[in-house]
């Protein structure tokens, strides 16, 4: 048993702060008092310490980065749980933060991980087929004009580009032939024929003008 010099209470030796410089290996103040004193000191110099920390971080950016990286690696699960908890407790702030982040880095992030995003969307669509179909149906009803315009533009694009599918459909006409059964070389020949006809049309237009 030992008496604390700060609060004057008698406590078991394990409740005192460890020290290498004393005979019994413990300081004269108990852990509770030590904690209180440290807290008081911390809050008394709070602004000063904050400023100092900031300065240090700015001076030793690489070092701090390395430390934080190491810490994150070590405590990944802990951080994840804490983050989730924080998001749960501060939904508004969390949403605002992610909105701000998306505004700053969203496009860049999407371009970097485009494949992953697309794969995720496709996977979701496959897993939630009914929900996806329902959603698209609803969207189509709501945005009917937009839909028609989109389809018209896409048709125009395929017509201009002379895609394989478009040429194959042209070849097929009303026949029972499947588009996939039309040979590639036949498609290529037809495409060239159309291109020639278009070129002639353009030339004739030029002459008329």
């Amino acid at each position: 048993m030992k008496t604390c010099k700060t609060c004057g209470e008698e406590k078991p030796i394990e409740e005192f702060v460890k020290s290498k410089n004393t005979k019994d290996g413990r300081l004269n103040k108990c852990k509770l008092c030590d904690n209180l004193i440290r807290k008081e000191q911390y809050y008394a110099n709070h602004e000063y310490r904050k400023q100092k920390d900031k300065e240090y971080r700015e001076k030793n950016k690489e070092k701090v980065k390395l430390w934080s990286h190491k810490y994150k690696e070590k405590n990944r699960e802990k951080i994840r749980i804490a983050d989730r908890e924080w998001r749960k407790n501060n939904p508004e702030l969390s949403r605002e933060r992610s909105r701000r982040w998306r505004k700053l880095h969203g496009k860049e992030h999407y371009q970097k991980n485009k494949q992953m995003f697309v794969a995720n969307v496709v996977r979701w669509q496959k897993e939630n087929k009914e929900r996806y179909n329902k959603r698209t149906r609803e969207w189509r009803i709501k945005n009917y004009a937009k839909c028609i315009e989109k389809e018209r533009l896409s048709r125009k694009k395929t017509r201009l580009k002379l895609t394989d599918g478009y040429v194959a459909r042209l070849l097929r006409g009303k026949g029972k032939l499947l588009v996939k059964d039309v040979p590639k070389e036949l498609i290529e020949a037809k495409r060239l024929q159309i291109l020639i006809q278009r070129e002639i049309k353009n030339l004739n237009k030029g002459e008329l003008v």
């Binding site: 032939l177 040979p183 070389e185 020639i196």
Partner: protein, 77 residues
Amino acid sequence: MKTISDVRDQLAEIFEDLRNKDIKPNEADSLANIAGKMIASAKVQLDYYALTKTKADIPFLDNQSKVINQTKQVGKL
């Protein structure tokens, strides 16, 4: 022009000539028209095979004939 590849090559040439103005548009038009007829006849043959549900064996579509020849050779071996 015995195969579809020949037709395609010929059409490519005509297209290039037309762009370089080495050929008259009327001539190019008639040639493209003939090629169109050939393509259409090949398509009719394909339609026939699709309707009868038999394997297409059209020498004009050389790619297919090649494949068939190859399979025949493999069968012989």
